[in-house]
């Protein structure tokens, strides 16, 4: 029998419907693989085997009756940022170690509604703050990929490092993830997987542990563009419980994958050419342009003049919102409470110093600073104005182009420990992805080739707000042209 864990989500769903295999068999195959792999890769922080098998059997019962949803019986991994009722949810933080939500996030509730099976909770950077999964209280996740001729452990990127690693190593069919500055697309690029952040407001933030409310958006990491469309279909919904949720129907995006891109106008922003960008990234990008041209797209050089200000803008807006969002972790009603303290204030400060890791502390400090008296206008309001400039840049080009093509990341996966010395170097990982968070636009990363070291590289397609359809269409064309089939050699 073939290794069920290597199936795509779409094929698995079809196989389940055709009763080629049962959900219990499929789930068990993943649990076995997780058991063997997770001690090394550290992708899951908790495996919910019993719950998974129980859900699988229930799915099998529905499938036997010819019933079932779009994801019926499909075992998925859930980023530990989504609150899952009765299952510990930590957001990768010691602050929430042992926290068991008595509620379900809307995104995961949608998945269970459609019949999906939860294998467990996936590791992540603490409160989604990080680009390498090294800020997790549960230790870094390892990338299943290794550089040619090196045994160094690489990061899978972050913050959805657990999701990306688990999908790349066949520890789930697909996974949920979230993206505040690039946390879906950068890890997808680093692991040869597909990750899409939809338009802000498509997926409900209800029950998703908040990092930066105006930027956070859930999305999938999957093996193929079609799989990512299938999962995103289920994840998105209008939700009255989230005031920023958009009251619009969710189309069936799987229909867009495979549609001809002939005649589409693709923008190539000149500002995304960075000083010192590795030649292979530039080459990959040019290759992407050629593929799309060959598929009948018209290539248009465009200008997004405020691109270089996106990261500094992000590093004001996101920490500011986070400093407020994370104020609820005070050890009073849930989460870590320090055992020794001298006063109420000391209890707050000690609990938070013990509960939060270094990077979270750093960002909360920056956030408090940029909002504090005397600096609010100079930093925060200024950043919000530049943010509008960045969004306007996109608005200005949508008349000329239907989608935009860029690299996903400025480099391939790097070694664990490599970029920890200087936070700014780490922050640069998000240079190509963060603009879409600031502007609320959909962006997808598609694996498009390998670096000289044999590591996957991704191309990003950015679309108009609510135009995921075109994004999937272009991503599908890139996937076809790239024919990316490489898988990491199993060393773990």
């Amino acid at each position: 029998m073939t290794d069920l864990t290597k199936l795509t989500l779409a094929d698995a769903v079809d196989g389940l419907k055709a009763k080629t295999f049962s959900s219990e068999e499929l789930t068990q195959a993943f649990l076995t693989n997780i058991e063997a792999s997770n001690p090394t890769l550290n992708a899951y922080v908790e495996v919910t085997a019993d719950k998974a098998l129980e859900q699988a059997r229930a799915s099998d019962a529905r499938l036997a009756k010819g019933e079932g949803g779009a994801l019926e019986g499909a075992p998925l991994g859930i980023k530990d940022l989504f609150c899952t009722e009765g299952v510990q949810t930590t957001a990768g933080s010691n602050m929430l170690r042992g926290f068991v939500p008595p509620y379900e996030s809307t995104v995961t509730a949608n998945l269970w509604r459609d019949g999906a099976v939860m294998l467990g909770k996936l590791n992540m950077d603490e409160f989604a703050m990080g680009s390498s999964n090294e800020t997790s209280a549960f230790g870094p996740v390892k990338n299943p990929w290794k550089s040619k001729g090196s045994n160094a452990d690489l990061t899978p990127g972050g913050s959805s490092g657990g999701s990306a690693s688990a999908v790349a190593a066949d520890l789930c069919l697909a996974a949920t993830a979230s993206d505040t500055g690039g946390s879906i697309r950068q890890p997808a690029a680093f692991t040869g997987t597909v990750g899409i952040k939809p338009t802000y407001g498509r997926a409900s933030r209800y029950g998703m542990v908040a990092f930066a409310s105006s930027l956070d958006q859930a999305g999938p990491i999957a093996k193929t563009v079609k799989d990512s469309a299938l999962l995103l279909n289920s994840m998105c919904s209008f939700d009255a419980k989230d005031s920023t949720s958009l009251d619009i129907p969710t189309p069936d995006w799987t229909q867009s994958v495979g549609q001809s891109v002939k005649g589409l106008r693709i923008g190539v922003p000149k500002e995304y050419v960075l000083d010192g960008m590795p030649a292979e990234i530039q080459k990959l990008w040019e290759q992407g342009v050629e593929w799309l041209k060959a598929a009948g797209c018209e290539i248009v050089e465009i200008s997004l003049p405020h691109t270089k200000y996106a990261l500094p803008t992000y590093y004001i807006v996101a920490p500011a919102e986070a400093s407020s969002n994370l104020a609820r972790y005070d050890g009073m009603r849930f989460g870590h409470r320090a055992e020794e303290f001298t006063s109420l204030d000391d209890l707050y400060a000690t609990s938070r110093a013990e509960g939060f890791g270094k990077e979270v502390q750093r960002r909360l400090t920056i956030g408090a600073y940029v909002l504090s008296a005397g600096f609010y206008d100079a930093y925060y309001v200024k950043a919000l104005k530049v943010r509008r400039r960045i969004a306007q840049d996109f608005d200005n080009v949508w008349g000329q182009v239907d989608a935009i093509l860029t690299p996903s990341t400025p480099s391939a996966a790097f070694a664990i420990g490599d970029k920890q010395i200087d936070p700014l170097t780490m922050y640069l990982n998000d240079v190509f992805t963060v603009t879409t968070n600031l502007a609320g636009l959909p962006g997808i990363s598609v694996p498009a080739g390998l670096s000289a070291d044999g590591l996957p590289l991704g191309l990003q397609v950015i679309g108009k707000a609510l135009d995921e359809a075109t994004v999937f269409q272009v991503a599908g064309a890139l996937e076809d042209a790239a024919g990316f089939v490489a898988k990491p050699d199993r060393w773990w």
Binding site: P102, R333, F334, A349, L364, K382, L384
Partner: protein, 95 residues
Amino acid sequence: MAIDAATVRKVAHLARIKTPEDRLEPLAQELNGILKWIEQLDEVDVQGVEPMTSNVSQPLRLRDDVVTDGDKVADVLSNAPKSADGFFVVPKVVE
């Protein structure tokens, strides 16, 4: 707008993060590095630009004044470090 150790102490207190005295100076330097990088925003002309607080351009939805929630003391207290008789329990607060 350079940050000194005293500012870090003040901001760390605002954020309620206990920071040992010997960490203040290194943190100040680190934050100054980040802030200096952030200050490149000063180059951008934002004359007459409205601050952008959200990506969603629709107005706020309003819900009806109906009681749909509550009456779940067990859930509310389920993760409390300490609770008693239906209350959260915290160290003595001096007002």
